[in-house]
Symmetry: C2
Subunit: 195 residues, 2 copies
Amino acid sequence: MTARKVYLAGPDVFFRNAAEVMRKKGELALEFGFSPSTLAEDDLDPAGLTPYEFGLRIGLLNERKMDESDFIIANLTPFRGISADVGTAYEVGYMRARGKPVFAYTNTARDYFTRLTEDHYPGDPLEEVEGVTRGRDGLMIENHGMIDNLMLDTAVADSGGTFVTGDVGPAGDLLGDLAAFRECLAAARAYWQAR
Amino acid sequence: MTARKVYLAGPDVFFRNAAEVMRKKGELALEFGFSPSTLAEDDLDPAGLTPYEFGLRIGLLNERKMDESDFIIANLTPFRGISADVGTAYEVGYMRARGKPVFAYTNTARDYFTRLTEDHYPGDPLEEVEGVTRGRDGLMIENHGMIDNLMLDTAVADSGGTFVTGDVGPAGDLLGDLAAFRECLAAARAYWQAR
């Protein structure tokens, strides 16, 4: 049987050691019997392109990689704020709409409501009216016991995927730790074996 | 001709006056000849559901609304941080993968690079190596002259949509102002009239 292809999504591409991390993730995917989607370096030559044009080329290349992949494993660990990276959220939506299963992980056990109330509205009095919680700015604070915005949790749950909650602790590598990623690979292997 | 249906996406649903804003947006869409996708209240009864189950129901309902819509207008104004709301980013990816045109707007003229460097890494020395900018934490700072993460800008540009950059100024209603939304409606009308 041909190995299923996995699209590896996440802010890992912004790390200083991005190439090493993506290589490591690719190796782990192979260990679990999957073919990792990797960038074709040839397609990433910025020569002759404006920064904007180069950005478009990367975007379209990522979409082509998604189209070629059977499923996605997304690193949805909070990135530069209380929620996942928006580029990764975009890719989860893209794969979901293509009817492909979404596997995801986060490296913090603190759920969305906790991060919002403790990190974004620290010390603020919260308003509770008819079961709806709001911050001082009047904006609603989702409280569904979910890991992030409900669209992300819904995509994982309804597509048959798994959302792995890791917990690297205060001294851990919040964005880069791969234990939960490994658990996603194991869950994905079980998913495809059952098909 | 049947009116095209527009999916209205954005953090507007979290506003204290969400119902009023969505009604107003729907009225504007009608003025431009579009049928706005609106929530069916009947589908949103939380009775008998856990908060998690209710979250899933909302997520699936939003996906059904997207499937019924011909295009999306997304409010990608920065939300609780330097980037767009992740739920809205998810929806942009979803509609893009369904092959539908993506129209978007932001109410700030400050581009992604500016927001990252001024708001997220204020006062930090930035590192510049081989054309790549990084913050003190080592994370890359995208600098493509784009409005947000390159996946979002790419989706709008390549789908034939328009990304409207508004500027409400410091005293304006950053998240809620509708001038740029109106411009999206005008651009979408031109898009569909050319078809």
